[in-house]
Every structure is written in structure tokens, then in C-alpha cells.
């Protein structure tokens, strides 16, 4: 990665700390991904991107910035990419998934904050993530309390805009979110200097829809009993899709889906017949958080679906592309986004229905419901998830974890015992 030294320096990064971070990544990638057998060839793209995660894409973003484009950093799948893309802006995900950044966040946040928030704040304050340095503006949102307060701290030294996400899903809330999107659009126009038009917004809606369809195609292949891709590889693809250019992302996912469909036709599976199929649900798994998938898949089961924001919640439901005024388009956006079922909402029966549906669609043998430590919302919802699944006779294991490795053995025992139950 040496070619990027100058770029990182120009970004004002803490080079010494960043070197330490870069040292741990290659062995993690080797252990989790490269050690797998019989991987789809098309994963080469994501292997390359992750091996230079702080190099390739950041360099592209900087090139685009030189042409006058603005980079928007986001933290939640409720923030509508379409609006930014329509104004010729670029969106990049900013959620932190490494323990490396947690202590930096802990220095300024309440102890009882989830590691995702701690890591995100730590990545910003520690100057060890190029994406956090590159983003011209951060877009936050009023979802959970931890994030709301963290944005106040993040906003101290970077432009920050917060969208007011509703807490319920009544008709008036959908209208409220539409208005909020319209207000955000004004901010985006002002920040990029580009006007939104029906044409450019419809084009952006189309681009993001195509990306969703491509991700869905890959997930569709995971529904097959002949499993053509591991959960770890699918997760990596999903995580990188938050950072990539949406059109290239769609192209690469479609290329992968082509290969997976061919594998299914030929009967090529990454696991032996009868391997138990796990649906993972809960809080998002930000890069490079691969702990859960890695433990499950090295304990003899396979992850076939993630009901998560780094999973189905990112691509399910499309935006209507046929609207002819900005107002109608904003409404179409609101309707699509408000279908995303996050535990920040109440009630949130939709998530339970999604999980039950996915258990059928993905031919799931057992569900692992895992939340990050101190995420009160998803933790509380475990009860409803587990009751609904048990009522249908679907085995479920509820877990709580963070970004450290200290509980890996405990998790291995629990997950191992769960898989032993499934194997009967």
C-alpha cells in the first residue's frame, strides 16, 4: 500500500497509528476469506478492494473531488443516496467496524454507547480512516439516542447535517419523512451547487434501483439449497457496496450473480450437502467486523442471509421510477425508505414479518439474532423475535457481542451448541 503514503499524509492522517491499523488487516483477510475453499472467482474484485481498502477507493474519491464533486459521508440506510447522486454528489458509508477505533471513541462518549458509534467517532478523532477525512460533509440522522448525541461531537470539526427520522410509521410520518427529504435536497443543492431536476433525480433513482436489484440477485442465489457462495463472501460484498460507486457496484454484483447462477445450474456448492443454513439478524456488521460469520462458518454451518442494514434492509424494496414531479419523487422515496424495518421505530412488527418470510425464502434451519453490546433497541427486540420464531418451531439463538475478540471462545461454544442442536 506504499503508493498511498503521500495521499494519507495530505489527508492529515495520523501515519503512525494508521500503519498499526494497516498491519492487522492483511492477516484478518487471510484468515477469514482467503482460507476458504472453492470461492467464486468473481470475488477477486472484493478481495482486491478490501486488500487496499484505504487506498483504491479513497484515491478515486479524491480525484472526483478535484473535479468539483462533493463527498457525503452517511451512517444509516435511511439517508437517501438518490438525492445526493442526482446533484452529482458521491455517497460513502462511514460506519466503523473495528475495535482499533473504540478506545478513541470511549475517550469522549458515554461508556454505555455501542461499539459501532464508538468506533465511528474514534475513526474520526484518531485520524486513522481516510474516508472520514475525505468526506466533505457528514449526514447524520435521529435514529438511536447514541448516534444523536455522537453527531453533536462529530459536528465539532466537520460540516454535519442531521435528518430527522420519524419514530413511527403512520401515514403522517411518511409525509413527514417526505418533507425531510425535500429539506435535505435543498441542503444538497446548496452544498454541491447543482440543482435537482425531475430528470436527474429519476436517473439517480434508476441507478440506485439497479444497484439494489444487483445485490438482490446475489442474495437470490443464496436461497438455493445448492449454496454457491459463503456468508463471509456475501457479507464482504455487501459491506463494500456502501463505499463503492453505485454503477460499478451493480456491475460487479451482476457479474458475481452470473457466476453464482451458473454454479447453481452446475450443482457447485461451497458446503457439503446437509450443512445447516443460518439466517443472521440484528445490528449492522460494519467493515471489518467479520467475527460472527467467521465463527458460524468455521463451526460447520453456513450463513445464507443477513436481515440487517448490511444485508436485506439495504436493497429490499425499490423506488417508483415513474414519477413526474420532484414532490412526487420525494414521496416515492419516502415510501420506499419507510419500508425499512429498523428497531428505532415503534412498533416494529414489520421486522418480525420480514424475518419469518426470510426463514421460508432462504430455507433457513436456524436463526442467530445478534446485537452489539449497549444497543438497547435491538437487544430489547430479541424477545419478540425469539417468541415469533419459537411459535413457528424455528430454533433461535440470541447473542450479544462487541468488537473485541475476548468473547470469541464463549461465542464459539454457544454457536457450536446451537449448530449441534440443529444437527440433532
Amino acid at each position: 500500500m506504499s503508493d498511498y503514503q503521500k495521499m494519507w499524509q495530505d489527508l492529515g492522517m495520523d501515519m503512525e497509528q494508521h500503519d498499526m491499523l494497516c498491519q492487522v488487516l492483511p492477516s484478518a483477510v487471510g484468515d477469514v476469506f482467503l482460507s476458504q475453499e472453492n470461492r467464486p472467482k468473481s470475488m477477486d474484485f472484493w478481495d482486491l478492494v478490501i486488500s487496499e481498502v484505504h487506498g483504491i477507493r479513497p484515491a478515486e474519491l479524491i480525484e472526483e473531488q478535484k473535479k468539483g464533486r462533493k463527498v457525503f459521508g452517511t451512517f444509516c440506510v435511511y439517508v437517501p443516496d438518490e438525492v445526493v447522486v442526482a446533484a452529482n454528489g458521491i455517497v460513502t458509508g462511514l460506519c466503523g467496524g473495528s475495535q482499533f477505533w473504540v478506545p478513541g471513541g470511549e475517550a469522549v462518549l458515554s461508556k454505555s454507547t455501542c461499539p459501532l458509534i464508538k468506533a465511528s467517532v474514534g475513526a474520526r478523532l484518531g485520524k486513522t480512516c481516510p474516508f472520514f477525512r475525505i468526506a466533505d460533509i457528514y449526514v447524520g440522522e435521529t435514529t438511536c439516542d447514541g448516534k444523536k448525541k455522537a453527531y453533536e461531537i462529530l459536528g465539532e470539526d466537520v460540516p454535519l447535517y442531521v435528518m430527522d427520522v420519524p419514530q413511527m410509521k403512520r401515514p403522517q410520518d411518511i409525509i413527514k419523512w417526505k418533507d425531510e427529504i425535500a429539506t435535505f435536497a435543498k441542503k444538497v443543492e446548496e452544498f454541491t451547487g447543482n440543482k435537482l431536476t425531475v430528470e436527474n433525480l429519476n436517473k439517480a433513482i434508476h441507478i440506485i434501483n439497479e444497484k439494489r436489484k444487483a445485490l438482490a440477485r446475489v442474495y437470490n442465489c443464496r436461497k438455493s439449497k445448492c449454496l454457491p457462495i459463503s456468508g463471509r463472501d456475501a457479507l464482504l460484498m455487501m459491506q463494500i457496496s456502501f463505499f463503492d460507486d453505485p454503477e460499478r457496484c451493480a456491475k460487479m454484483c451482476n457479474r458475481l450473480a452470473d457466476e453464482l447462477e451458473e454454479r447453481i445450474a452446475k450443482g457447485i456448492s461451497v458446503v457439503p450437502e446437509g450443512t445447516k443454513r443460518i439466517l443472521v439478524t440484528g445490528t449492522p456488521l460494519a467493515v471489518p467486523n467479520w467475527k460472527l460469520h467467521n465463527i458460524i462458518e468455521t463451526s460447520g454451518a453456513a450463513v445464507v442471509c443477513e436481515e440487517m442494514c448490511t444485508g436485506t434492509r439495504y436493497f429490499e424494496n425499490l423506488v417508483d421510477e415513474t414519477k413526474e414531479s420532484l414532490d412526487e419523487q420525494f414521496m416515492a422515496l419516502s415510501e420506499r425508505y419507510m419500508k425499512t424495518n429498523c428497531a428505532c421505530f415503534t412498533p416494529n412488527r414489520g421486522r418480525i414479518d420480514d424475518i419469518l418470510r426470510m426463514v421460508e425464502e432462504y430455507q433457513v434451519d436456524g436463526v442467530i439474532d445478534c446485537s452489539l453490546k449497549f444497543c438497547c433497541l435491538y437487544d430489547t427486540e430479541k424477545r419478540a423475535v425469539s417468541q415469533a420464531l419459537k411459535a413457528k418451531g424455528v430454533p433461535v439463538l440470541s447473542l450479544e457481542t462487541d468488537y473485541t475478540d475476548t468473547d470469541a471462545e464463549q461465542l464459539r461454544t454457544r454457536i457450536g451448541a446451537f449448530i449441534e442442536i440443529l444437527n440433532g
Binding site: 461454544t413 457450536g416 449441534e420 442442536i421
Partner: protein
């Protein structure tokens, strides 16, 4: 012909070994501290069994417990949850039961239906509500765990509020400083672990379930009574209770 089926349960504190024959008759039970190195302990067990005429090369062996991966001569590793469930159902001769196992590192509640594990809960990585908690508190009072339970049976009227081992230890120290009777402090310590374990167990217990306590602490009658009172259900214990995991592993070795 294979004559011996062996289960090795390498726990964080003790290693338990059970040897059975193909008729599921118990031939040997071996108990020893785990020490620093699981592999070394496993080797000692191998020696001890060899001295008793049990040749491991001629046996089917399953390892379980915390140190299960460090047994070079085991043919398979199975988690302690599955083994405990299987073993306890066998020891008690009941296909349906709920097991409370207070171990050194973790406390597990295991629900067994038709002789196999149906569901379980396990405490998270902190040591509240585990054997470690009692061990630390006993040390603070300069007694062992058995003495701690004896003392507790004569005490009362004191409580500690913190679930966290580290904070609870400071609470105990300040109780000592205040001149509180040791019996009362011991009572508070046992009472706190009983409440913690009971609250975990409540989610798993259905009316009429047969409850049993396994693990080293199952030998304390006082703890058993206190837990049973808290859960308002009789709880059984068995001299072989602490071998449940090893026995379960040996039974599973029959299918290898």
C-alpha cells in the same frame, strides 16, 4: 472390538473423565485440577487411565469443555452444552429436564427434551453469577467455597447490590471494614449469586419441569436449598452431577 468409550470434560478449573462400556455401564470416573495447560492435563489423564488398564488407542474418545480443542487423542470435540444435556438426562434417568450448571467460567441453563438439548442460555462474558464469583468472594473472606456456604447458612439480613465481581468484591471489603459478621457477608454473597442464577433460569423453566443442579456447586446443600426456594421448585442433585459433561461425552462416543 472397542471396549471403552471415554468422555473428557476439560473445564476451566477441573478436568472430569468418564469411561463407559458399550452397555453404558460406568467403569471409571476421574477428577483432577485442570492446571495451566489443557494438553498437559489431558496427557496426565491418559497416563492415569493407562495405569488402570484402559488403552486409549483402543477407545472412542470425545473431548468437551473449555479446553476441548487441546486434547490431541480425542476423535471429536463436542460443546459442553450438548454433553451436559446428554449426561444429565442419563444420570437422572429422565428424558425431559432442565439443568442449572454453575461452572467456573460460566453458568448455563440447559433445557433437555427427549434426551437431547432443546434450548439453552449462558451468561455473557462477565463472571457475575458464576463459580468464579464465589471463588473471589470466598478468598476475600479467607475461606473456601464449601466453608463459605456453611457460613452463609448461619447468616442473614445483609445484601450486596453489585452484580459485577469487581465491584462486589469492594462491597465485601467495605462490609468487612464495617465489622459486619462473616456469616452475614457470606449469606449476602450466596444470596446474590442465587438471585442472579435464578433470574437466568426463570426464562427456561416451564411449570412442572424437573430441575437439577450440576457442576461442583451441586454438592452444597445450602446453595441448593436457597436456589430451590428462590425458584419455588424442588431441585435435584446427584453425586455424579459434576461428571455430567464427561458422561455425556462418553455416551456420544458410543455413536462414533
Amino acid at each position: 472390538m472397542i471396549k471403552h468409550f471415554i468422555g473428557l470434560d476439560i473445564g476451566s478449573t477441573y478436568t472430569k473423565t468418564a469411561v463407559i462400556n458399550e452397555n453404558k455401564e460406568l467403569l471409571q470416573l476421574v477428577f483432577k485440577p485442570t492446571g495451566w495447560n489443557g494438553a498437559e492435563t489431558a496427557e496426565q489423564v491418559r497416563q492415569e487411565l493407562a495405569d488402570k488398564g484402559i488403552d486409549l488407542a483402543e477407545a472412542k474418545i470425545i473431548a468437551t469443555g473449555y479446553g476441548r480443542v487441546s486434547v490431541p487423542f480425542a476423535q471429536k470435540c463436542v460443546t459442553e452444552i450438548t454433553c451436559h444435556g446428554k449426561g444429565a438426562a442419563f444420570v437422572y434417568g429422565k428424558p425431559n429436564l432442565t439443568i442449572i450448571d454453575i461452572g467456573g467460567q460460566d453458568t448455563k441453563i440447559i433445557q433437555v427434551l427427549d434426551g437431547a438439548v432443546n434450548d439453552f442460555v449462558m451468561n455473557d462474558k462477565c463472571s457475575a453469577g458464576t463459580g468464579r464469583f464465589l471463588e473471589v468472594m470466598a478468598k476475600t473472606l479467607s475461606v473456601d467455597i464449601a466453608q463459605l456456604c456453611d457460613l452463609a447458612s448461619q447468616g442473614g439480613n445483609t445484601s450486596i447490590s453489585s452484580m459485577c465481581t469487581v465491584f462486589a468484591e469492594s462491597e465485601v471489603i467495605s462490609l468487612i471494614g464495617r465489622g459486619e459478621k462473616r456469616e452475614n457477608i457470606a449469606f449476602a454473597v450466596v444470596d446474590s449469586i442465587v438471585k442472579k442464577v435464578a433470574s437466568q433460569a426463570k426464562r427456561m423453566i416451564t411449570p412442572g419441569s424437573f430441575l437439577c443442579l450440576t457442576g461442583g456447586l451441586s454438592e452444597s446443600q445450602y446453595l441448593l436449598n436457597a436456589l430451590s426456594k428462590e425458584l419455588r421448585t424442588p431441585i435435584a442433585s446427584h453425586p455424579h452431577g459434576r461428571y455430567a459433561g464427561a458422561i455425556g461425552a462418553a455416551l456420544l462416543a458410543l455413536n462414533l
